[in-house]
């Protein structure tokens, strides 16, 4: 094979090798999008879509740079290996024109990235649409509290760890922290934003049509021992389902006269659960029931716990077995948990679970 055709084969083979590796990488990135609960590549809101469009542009530009540099490295390494009789080009010290060219090209690439970035950020970070639903998300170590407001800003109700929103409706979330820095993130619906103590951050999003369903979120700013366990869910639903959920949350806790539920309530008070967790029965059902006077919650509001699908900041599905494990030893499941091990007997736990199950 002549030197010239050897060169050509080398260049082509190197590009093929790099292209093959790049294709594998592309498949893997794609795989990271499909069916992954926390995928960042599956935008289901207008705002996530705007940011995703910037990502796609940047990804392809990066891919092009990757292929060029990897191929160049491979080709130069192989082609210029020392060979007998071939002298190095010691006369080459630089090439001003080339150097100017490869200063300008990256500047152009940067400009191509910067303009859509500016557009997307200004749009997404701007004010929410008129008539947006107002929710305040408060980060605690290690759970999320959600306070829903009416259009005048008054508090409607509080819940924890699971947030419901109507589909195709703008939602404005005010982000607050009760203690350290947390962050609020549901990759399918919006990029992360910190819950900064002492500051009033906010984000807004509007889900796309047909995105009804459950979407996964997690705290994504290191916040201490159980940062890994601080998760939540957002349920996007039809306006009818959403209204039904809101009405249920606004209503007082359901009263059940069942003997086991009654026994559970006694344990709830005897073990001082109500010093951290609110369960708001109506005065007519429970005239003597004490609701702690503190407005700021220490633990999640349990008035409608049985309407939630998870417990322990969306760490565990809400079922008998998990409730039992949790009540048995909260710090064992969530290191550092503020809820201590109350040394409950199995019998006490059975009663408590009956009570908690009644709180739909």
């Amino acid at each position: 094979m002549t030197g010239r055709s050897r060169q050509i084969v080398l260049v082509v083979a190197s590009f093929v090798a790099v292209a093959f590796v790049s294709w594998l990488i592309f498949i893997a990135f794609d795989g990271a999008a499909i069916d992954k609960r926390m995928s960042t590549l599956n935008p289901l809101s207008d705002q996530a879509q705007e940011y995703h469009d910037v990502y796609v542009l940047v990804w392809w530009l990066s891919g092009a740079v990757f292929v060029v540099i990897m191929a160049a490295t491979l080709i130069l390494s192989i082609h210029y290996r020392e060979r007998p009789g071939v002298e190095p080009r010691r006369d080459i010290h630089g090439n001003t024109r080339l150097e100017i060219l490869w200063t300008i090209i990256p500047i152009v690439i940067v400009l191509i990235m910067v303009v859509p970035t500016f557009d997307a950020v200004l749009s997404v970070e701007g004010d929410a649409e008129e008539g947006a639903l107002e929710v305040t998300a408060t980060g605690h170590q290690w759970w999320f509290e959600f306070t829903y407001h009416d259009s005048d800003g008054n508090e409607l109700f509080r819940t924890a760890n699971e947030m419901h929103v109507p589909v195709e409706q703008a939602v404005n979330v005010s982000l607050v922290s009760n203690d350290v820095i947390h962050a609020f993130w549901v990759p399918a619906l919006f990029g992360k934003k910190d819950m900064m103590p002492g500051h009033n951050n906010r984000l807004w999003f509007k889900s796309k049509p047909g995105t009804e369903g459950m979407h996964y979120g997690q705290c994504v700013e290191y916040c201490g021992d159980s940062h890994a366990n601080m998760r939540f869910r957002i349920f996007v639903e039809s306006p009818a389902d959403y209204d039904a959920w809101v009405n249920n949350q606004i209503a007082k806790a359901k009263w059940s006269d069942d003997e086991l539920v009654n026994a559970g309530r006694e344990v709830f008070v005897a073990k001082a659960c109500n010093s951290c967790h609110q369960v708001e029965y109506s005065k007519s059902d429970a005239p003597d029931w004490l609701v702690p006077p503190t407005v700021a919650a220490i633990g999640p509001n349990l008035s409608h716990l049985a309407s939630r699908t998870t417990i322990a900041s969306a760490l565990l599905d809400r079922d008998e077995s998990n409730l039992r494990s949790w009540l048995k030893n909260p710090p064992g499941i969530k290191p550092g948990s503020r809820m201590p091990n109350l040394e409950l007997t199995d019998d006490e736990i059975t009663k408590l679970i009956a009570m908690l199950d009644s709180l739909e």
Binding site: H52, V114, P197, P335
Partner: protein, 601 residues
């Protein structure tokens, strides 16, 4: 070899070897101590990495408790940055600055020794936290208010403050020393634009540290005060602001990452021309690119804060500057590749590491530019995508550059060659391991895996790539073992390396391997940035040393050691009993006083 009849004399001979090292002001010995200490911490921190990866290999792992995991990921970063990469960088700076500029030592030899001993005491204070109540566990970036005494009960964060303040002092002293040395002590004929690129990178790094270390020192003092003396710099309830900590920290933290990468970029700029057997392509451009990265590096810090609610305008400004800094970086990549063009490349182990640096650093640079856009960053920040980015630039970049330097300069420092066969094995295993560990983290990041989590659940689709990453990390461990075996076997060989085995052009190769204590008999003439090649082409021969040549060297001193012990005791006192601070001050004062009056002839 001591015998029964040698008695006191033999004991004295041994003692003086230890004493020789404790009191040395010779830059080569100090560089060696930095190197051994730094590499030891690199190994220890590598073990924390293996523990972390073992914990994350499967969902809901129980190898490490949450508490221990959080200490491990915090200390992994702290140790790698402050106790491994920076000291190994300092090791080469120390050894080679005087040699590359044709001087015989640094400007302030005792200050040089002091830097090492203060580094050692700071490192011991920080490391000892593991055994004295728990290491810091709030991340290496230690965001307030998590670091407040209210949320970080226990002394870990106090060790963090005191340890880093002392380590910062060490780096500051060393940077001042190096900057003065490079600016003032160059050989005749070595103008600034004839400095080896490695020297330019060292100069830029020195200025980055001189300007950024005071900022983080202030922040650490403020944090220590918030934790121990009821101030409220970062406490929102009392009018303080956690964002203040972030600004102060990242104003240091971002230049710090350039401190970590520029030395390796300098090494690669030395190695590639030597093994391509042609001069560096675009010397001026690489120098200006390095300097501008240093300057621009002070204008990008808030890209670490895109998701904190900075405000749209600041976010966009910092996004533009961050993307901008990719331009000089790209220029360097192209210039290194162009150096290989037209070369006659000899693929020694050192060259493998240098070429891998180009490719791996490019990948890290690409992912970095991706999240220079706040739009992209909002979905990448605090996910494994960033972990992938930092490890491509720090492992694929900084560490591989260091290994390139180790294989390149080993014959010069020790007179022996590390085995090329073993070296190539360690390279390929490390290269495979590194990519297996960190490339999947891009996929984990875009499938939403947060970072700094001690465990994750099944059902999120993160299981497989985590397992792959863990396997890769063990491969890295194997490659390090291969390297260590290489070192131990090599050091058993006799020291027979010639002055310039690689036919390199810079001045350190114009003396014996290892160099004599006075570095050069006669410093060669300097007419270019590649003096040995130019002199050969122009027929210039360096004369032999004249008869009866006496070279005055600075005498050894134990005052730096005394002063460092004093500083260390001050630190220990701040962590235990304030009375010890008084003793530390007294010892330090004695050290300073002794230093100032001792003869230097």
């Amino acid at each position: 070899m001591a015998t029964a009849t040698d008695g006191v004399g033999a004991v004295q001979a041994e003692q003086s070897k230890v004493w020789e090292w404790l009191t040395t002001v010779d830059h080569k010995k100090i560089g060696t101590m930095y190197g051994i200490t730094g590499f030891t911490y690199f190994l220890i921190s590598g073990l924390t990495a293996l523990a972390i990866r073992t914990q994350l290999a499967v969902p809901n792992g129980n190898v490490l408790s949450a508490e221990l995991y959080n200490q491990f990921f915090t200390m992994h970063a702290l140790m790698m940055i402050f106790l491994a990469i920076m000291p190994m960088g300092a090791s080469f700076f120390n050894y080679f600055i005087p040699l590359q500029i044709g001087a015989r030592d640094v400007a302030f030899p005792r200050l040089n020794a002091l830097s090492y001993w203060v580094f050692l005491s700071g490192s011991l204070i920080l490391f000892s936290s593991f055994f004295l109540g728990g290491a810091p566990d709030a991340g290496w970036f230690a965001y307030a208010p998590l670091t407040d005494a209210k949320y970080s009960v226990g002394s870990g964060l106090d060790f963090y403050c005191v340890g880093l303040i002392i380590l910062g002092l060490s780096s500051l002293m060393a940077s001042l020393n190096f900057a003065v040395t490079i600016l003032n002590m160059r050989a005749p004929g070595m103008t600034m634009m004839r400095l080896p690129v490695y020297m330019w990178m060292t100069l830029v790094v020195s200025f980055l540290l001189i300007l950024s270390l005071p900022i983080v020192t202030v922040a650490l003092v403020m944090l220590y005060f918030d934790r121990n003396f009821t101030t409220n710099f970062f406490t929102p309830e009392a009018g303080g602001d956690p964002i203040l900590w972030q600004h102060l920290f990242w104003l240091f933290g971002h230049p710090e990452v350039y401190v970590l990468i520029l030395p390796s970029m300098g090494i690669v700029s030395e190695v590639i021309p030597v093994f391509s057997r042609k001069p560096l392509f675009g010397y001026s451009a690489i120098v200006f690119a390095g300097a501008s990265i240093g300057v621009l590096g002070f204008g990008v810090w808030a890209h670490h804060m895109f998701t904190t609610g900075l405000g749209t305008v600041p976010a966009l400004v910092f996004s533009a500057t961050t993307m901008g800094i990719g331009v000089p970086t790209g220029v360097k990549i192209f210039n290194w590749l162009s150096t290989m063009y037209g070369g006659s490349i000899r693929f020694t182990t050192s060259m493998y590491f240098a070429v891998a640096f180009i490719a791996m650093f490019t990948i890290g640079g690409i992912s970095g530019v991706m999240h220079a856009s706040p739009a992209v960053d909002s979905q990448h920040q605090d996910t494994y995508f960033v972990v992938a980015h930092i490890h491509y630039v720090l492992f694929g970049g900084a560490i591989m550059g260091i290994f390139s330097g180790i294989f390149y300069w080993w014959p010069k420092m020790t007179g022996r060659f590390l085995s090329e066969t073993s070296g190539k094995w360690s390279f390929w295993v490390m290269f495979a391991g590194m990519n297996l560990t960190f490339f999947p983290m891009h996929f984990l990041g875009v499938s939403g895996m947060p970072r700094r989590i001690y465990t994750y659940d099944e059902g999120f689709g993160w299981d497989d790539w985590n397992m792959v990453a863990t396997i890769g990390s063990y491969l890295i461990g194997v490659s390090i073992l291969i390297f260590l075996i290489n070192v131990f076997r090599t050091m058993r060989q006799p020291a027979t390396a010639p002055d310039n085995p690689w036919d390199a052009p810079t001045l350190e190769w114009a003396t014996s391997s290892p160099p004599p204590e006075h570095d050069f008999d006669v410093v060669p003439e300097v007419h270019s940035s590649i003096p040995l090649w130019t002199n050969r082409e122009m027929g210039i021969v360096t004369p032999e040393a004249p008869e009866g040549l006496h070279i005055h060297l600075p005498p050894s001193s134990y005052m730096p050691l005394i002063l460092a012990i004093g500083v260390g005791l001050i630190g220990v006192g701040l962590l235990s009993h304030l009375a010890l601070v008084g003793i530390g001050v007294a010892i330090a004062t004695y050290g300073v006083w002794g230093w100032s009056i001792e003869p230097t002839d």
